[in-house]
């Protein structure tokens, strides 16, 4: 039976710190934070324009508009961030030297993941947090709390897709294949999945899928993120036209958070399983 060494924290921290500082130094974190800030500001200001008004008015409408944007952009950013985490090391020729150090493959994977997730977290919290501070004038605590939930769920969404990206970086034989797989995942989860689901619902008039529909939604991290943010808001549900199709079984934040955590842990575990065999 294969020997399984205990995990040590130090090598994880060393790898994570390098990954994080690399992203900070090449201004990746700054660029992504700036993108989030600009988008959030523009959406917060013009988000209610369809209602005939502009300006920082309604937090719920702002969040709904941001959700529509984040659901496209954050998975893409996370996939781009992590798709070459391991395969890139192999292709550059730096992987052998890394693996010859006193660290395990699991520690290497966790270090990579934590460093990249840290970079993603800082840019997300800085970008959206700045706008949160600006919006905090004149809006109540509950609205601010909902905005906080939105930022945290954005982070979870990013971490889930980063996990998928790390899995891709272990599966792919080279960076070109990895980038292809990453783009395919983005298309699948962000564009295709909901369309197929909707198509099935319409084609069967919702009858055959009524039972498994909530489960099918949990099989897509982007959908979990949408439900987490939108379903909680009564007035927005009506506005979003979701009340009719969103199953009540999913109105449990703990269930949604657990599903999101599973989307973070399962791809990482799969990546380790594939990567551990030398």
């Amino acid at each position: 039976m294969a020997f399984m060494p205990a995990i040590e924290l130090r090598p994880i921290l060393v790898i994570a710190r390098k990954e994080f500082w690399d992203r900070l130094r090449n201004r990746w974190v700054l660029a992504i934070a700036a993108i989030f800030t600009v988008f959030a500001l523009v959406i917060a200001y013009f988000g209610a324009a369809q209602g005939g008004a502009v300006g920082f008015q309604n937090m719920d409408v702002t969040i709904v508009s941001l959700v529509s944007l984040v659901i496209y952009i954050v998975p893409l950013i996370a996939l781009i961030l992590g798709y070459d985490a391991v395969v890139g090391e192999g292709e550059r020729g730096t992987l052998d030297l890394l693996l010859s150090q006193p660290l395990t493959r699991l520690e290497l994977l966790l270090g990579k993941y934590c460093g990249l997730a840290g970079a993603l977290a800082v840019s997300t919290v800085a970008g959206f947090g700045l706008v949160g501070i600006l919006l905090s004038h004149g809006i109540g605590l509950p609205a601010l709390a909902r905005y906080g939930t939105f930022v945290m769920s954005t982070l979870l969404l990013g971490c889930a897709f980063l996990s998928l990206a790390v899995l891709v970086s272990v599966i792919a034989s080279n960076r070109v294949v990895a980038s292809g797989l990453a783009i395919a995942l983005w298309f699948l989860f962000v564009l295709v999945y909901d369309l197929v689901l909707l198509g099935l619902l319409v084609a069967t008039s919702g009858r055959k899928f009524a039972g498994v529909f909530p489960l099918l939604l949990l099989l897509n991290p982007a959908d979990i993120f949408r439900i987490l943010n939108v379903y909680a808001m009564e007035e927005v549900r009506a506005l979003y036209g979701l009340a009719t199709v969103m199953p009540d079984q999913l109105a449990r934040p703990w269930l949604l958070c657990t599903a999101m955590l599973a989307w973070i842990l399962v791809p990482l575990a799969a990546a380790y399983r594939l990567f551990r065999k030398p």
Binding site: F3, P5, E8, R25, N26, R92, T94, S100, P278
Partner: protein, 315 residues
């Protein structure tokens, strides 16, 4: 005899149908400079990666410093091992000193030594602070060597360590290796440059198509193949007849004529001393005598011709 620091026992590794390493066994005692030679694709780099535990063997066992390479004490073992991969690559955005600090932290080595290791590897202070992407091949190799020496390793694995180094760099490099060996560090290096290593390694192993074809000192390998030594002699005027008469009585000699008054006498390793003694006893016939042993290249090519792969020089 000192205990083996590197023990390789019946190790095999396949990639699909290809047997990259096949039933290889050898020992490297402490404080030796051990060479690994073989043709391109002979399995040298695969064997080094197996010895480091970077890939798992299909068969056999490998112990470093008395411990299984992927066993419970693998961290302890790796802290005492330095590795310079073939065509070493680093992170282009880091400077030389940042690169070394990164690996020092991973290895749990002291950061204090980084600058002095770079200096000793021949990288000046300006180079410490330059990004690695601006380094030449030779500078990367020097940085790789400095990296391998982090944490004062007891075993060094160097895969083609002198590629990219100029002759002066090669001489400095081996000077450092001899210093390390004298301090008891065990060094295994692979090389294509046979002329460079033949007088520098204590012993070597020759791989062919993944199998160990021979192992021992260079002289043991010469003797195992019985490759002839060549004695070049410059003759005095008017002694040709006497020289030929002398050589006719010596065992296993073949003579060929060189330029001017020079002749080449080829004789087997076992007859070498007899022939030389006879020639020296008649030194009035010769202006000069020069003995040339078969080079490591001759040994390498000699083994390449061998049909029987089982020849092993003694330890």
């Amino acid at each position: 005899m000192s205990a083996s620091v590197i023990e390789v026992r019946g190790v095999g590794k396949s990639y699909g149908e290809v047997r990259a390493v096949d039933d290889v066994s050898f020992d490297v005692p402490a404080g030796r400079l051990f060479g690994l030679i073989g043709h391109n694709g002979a399995g040298k780099s695969t064997l080094i990666r197996l010895m480091l535990g970077l890939i798992g063997a299909d068969a056999g066992s490998i112990r470093l410093l008395g411990e299984p390479v992927a066993g419970a004490r693998f961290r302890e073992v790796r802290r005492h091992v330095g590795y310079l991969p073939e065509n070493v690559a680093f992170y282009d955005n880091l400077t030389g000193v940042e690169t070394l600090r990164f690996y020092a932290e991973l290895k749990g080595a002291t950061l204090r030594d980084c600058a002095s290791l770079l200096e000793k590897a021949g990288l000046n202070h300006a180079a410490h602070l330059r990004p690695v992407r601006t380094y030449s091949k030779g500078m990367r190799q020097r940085l790789g060597f400095a990296q391998a020496l982090l944490g004062e390793p007891r075993v060094l694995f160097l895969d083609e360590p002198t590629s990219g180094l100029d002759p002066e760099g090669v001489r400095e490099f081996y000077h450092r290796l001899f210093e390390l060996r004298d301090r008891g560090v065990t060094i295994l290096l692979s090389s294509h440059n046979l002329a460079q290593i033949q007088d520098r390694v204590d012993a070597l192993a020759l791989l062919r198509n993944g199998r160990l074809q021979a192992a021992g000192t260079v002289q043991q390998l010469r003797e195992a193949l019985n490759l002839p030594a060549t004695i070049r002699a410059s003759l005095h005027e008017g002694v040709d007849g006497r020289v030929h008469e002398l050589l006719a009585h010596l065992p296993g000699c073949t003579v060929s004529h060189g330029p001017g008054r020079e002749i080449s006498i080829s004789c087997g390793q076992h007859d070498k001393v007899t022939v030389l003694s006879a020639l020296l006893a008649s030194d009035h016939l010769f202006n000069d005598l020069h003995i040339q042993e078969p080079s490591l290249e001759d040994v390498f090519l000699g083994y390449a011709k061998e049909k029987n792969n089982g020849i092993h020089a003694g330890d």
